[in-house]
Symmetry: C2
Subunit: 429 residues, 2 copies
């Protein structure tokens, strides 16, 4: 038995009393937690002390580096092209990764999109792609490298070897009310992204009811914290603050969102989804040194769709196969005539989740077909009795609880709605 360099009780007491933790203390506590020497209850007390008393930028950087050091790192430096990645803090109807990865690959920038599954009211990218017949989420590191070299884009499951301290801590935060805390969110996201070895990273930080961050100030603070962490780790990083008060596009749910992504890759699709896809692609390309490229053209001329088809095929998916469709649907109509002033992202995310699109526990299965189609968006005029949305599920007994969560989702009234002019509020780089 080697003597431990520090005592957990002293490290916890320092943060409890509002003092900054030293780099050696942070390195030790993360390593000892990964080894099981620091107990879950000790890390819970420390996480709560961090939540309430905050960490300064150098502590957050040290914390992030210690979480990276807890596991393996990937290395894309052998590729013939630069890498650029995107991370979204999670929103409702956020299928952007699907058209974005092949779109960026068109311009000879590799996109290693190591993703997760959904938990709670926001969907998971892997869950969405798994609604495509045959598609496989699991790839080895060599397969990832080969696919990036050949096609330029890969969306697959993140390996379990990256930042294991973060995995333990994430599960602990979930049951101890220490999730919604900028230092812990920023270090969790950035430790995984830096360990993944991308050279460029664009963060899509969502703001609004359907997002972690409900207001622009806190979202900006989170974005700046993460951009600084990326830069200090040698990753070219920037962030877009984007609207998540209403769902992205007109679909929420796994197969439904794949269908909408295909519309975007075919040169169509809802304006907000197209605009955000293009904005993120331009930023990812800029970080990789590709400026003066016409991104929109690659959506309309079929080049992005070609990459998509190749990418899906490489992972055993059949891009031409029909997507599954729900057996049961129910239409929600407008209760009055007027301008649609609110279509609340959180309530719709919860409804879609209750229809079967998401999971309550990480072991739960999800329904490919479940979700919600929107027929109107805020700012549009609607008439009483007009369909506002269609609910989809394989299990109709779920309709009642889904409708419950929609009770305060819709507001109709007045002559105008305050709708953001652009899906992108602000860019931080």
């Amino acid at each position: 038995m080697t003597a431990e360099a520090f005592d957990a009780v002293d490290v916890i007491a320092a943060k409890r009393d509002g003092r900054a933790l030293r780099k050696e203390q942070i390195d030790w506590v993360i390593d000892a937690y990964t080894r099981g020497v620091v107990a879950e209850e000790q890390m819970a007390a420390l996480a709560m002390a961090i939540f309430i008393n905050d960490m300064d930028p150098s502590e957050i950087a040290d914390w992030t580096q210690a979480m990276i050091a807890s596991g393996e790192r990937m290395d894309f430096s052998s590729l013939s092209r630069p890498t650029s990645d995107k991370h979204s803090t999670g929103g409702v109807g956020d299928k952007i990764t699907l058209p974005l990865a092949p779109l960026v690959a068109v311009f000879d920038v590799a996109v290693p999109q190591l993703s997760g599954r959904g938990l709670g009211h926001t969907g998971g990218t892997l869950d969405k792609l798994e609604s495509i017949p045959g598609w496989q989420a699991g790839l080895s590191n060599d397969e990832i490298l080969d696919q990036l070299e050949d096609i330029g884009a890969v969306i697959c499951a993140a390996g379990t070897g990256l930042a294991p301290a973060d995995k333990k801590l994430y599960a602990l935060r979930d049951i101890t009310s220490t999730v919604d805390c900028i230092p812990l969110i920023a270090s969790s996201i950035m430790s995984k992204k830096i360990a993944e070895g991308t050279s460029g990273l664009v963060l899509d930080v969502k703001v609004g009811s359907g997002a972690f961050m409900k207001d622009l100030d806190k979202a900006g603070q989170l974005a700046r914290t993460m951009v600084d962490l990326g830069k200090s780790a040698g990753v070219r990083t920037s962030a877009l603050l984007t609207d998540m008060s209403t769902p992205l596009g007109l679909t929420v749910g796994n197969a439904l969102e794949v269908r909408e992504s295909l519309e975007v890759l075919a040169g169509g699709g809802p304006a907000d989804v197209v605009d955000l896809t293009v904005a993120l692609a331009e930023e990812m390309l800029r970080l990789a040194g590709r400026t003066d490229v016409d991104v929109r053209a690659a959506l309309t001329d079929g080049r992005a769709m070609d990459r998509w088809n190749a990418m899906i095929r490489a992972q055993n998916g059949d891009p031409a196969a029909a997507l599954p469709v729900a057996e049961h649907t129910e239409v929600v109509t407008a209760s009055e005539t007027g301008v649609l002033t609110k279509l609340d992202a959180l309530s719709i995310g919860v409804a879609s989740w209750r229809l079967g699109a998401g999971r309550a526990r990480k072991e739960d299965p999800v329904q490919d077909v479940a979700g919600i189609e929107l027929h109107a968006k805020p700012g549009q005029n609607v008439s009483a009795g007009q369909p506002l949305m269609t609910l989809h599920t394989a299990t109709p007994e779920r309709f009642a609880r889904a409708v419950e969560s929609l009770e305060t989702a819709v507001e109709i009234g007045g002559d105008t709605a305050s709708v953001p002019e652009s899906i992108v509020f602000e860019k931080i780089s």
Copy 2:
């Protein structure tokens, strides 16, 4: 499986955000923690949130009542005399319980002193009494009642059925840096004392380097919190704030402290020990309605010693047997000539602990013979080379580390020392 009334995550979040917990939330969280439904890591996060964000008086009262309700309660109402108890927050050389219990019993007030063992630098009353050949700490509830009726005083181990939530929480606080927090200290002490069923209670709240509370303000706050908790539970409660900057009396350690207690019961002993014993006895008797009694007389005329002998014999101890003596001693001398201005309680407590008088883990044994005899107290003149203290142990390899902790314990210099006029700083009732 019954559905739970609350979700731990919501209760933790409320306190995290600085909100007061409602009585139903507190009742549920303590009960669910006792049942194992609220996990240790969740209680750790909640304890840290309480530590940093505090609890208001009604929350502390609810928390205390919930801890009492987690276990059984004792009942002394069948006794023919009133009960009065004392609790000390713990200090170095604090053997007061030993002469105090038989002294109060002389005046027909029963003293049910349910005690614990020492952990860390403060000694435990049971550890001290166990240095008396044959003495047994464990008694059944019936044996306690019988002894209180016959002799009027009992010092024994507290049963495990009292406030089990407090036992779990106390062990958790120890490893999560959430010990030194007034709401948690006050509710821990008072839940046990109220569950023990005494009708009167005097709290000896220590102030100074050897105590939990280093300054008078915080000690006063703790004392007032506990007095309010006792009164609102129907227990006549008061508190004395007493000096713990320097050890009590001239001995620290188990058998050494029994020896000094016998001196006090024989009408002698150091003035500070006698004064504090008398002050606490008078207060305990006042709470039981016995005023106008000459407490000091019972120490000098042998009545308190008679009760002591009966009390020790009732628990199989031999009050006439010789106390064990250490095989190894080492003398620490004064390094210069002058007024002894400091004899630090904490350092001396740690030294005694390192000599073997205390334990680091609750499973560890203690040495009856280990400890420290003091030959001078602050305010006295000393000459270079004069013995200041004698260290006692059964295991001489312990001397080196004990002497280390004494390095800053002693200060000699100047013409005068600031020594408190009285061992009792303040009375709160």
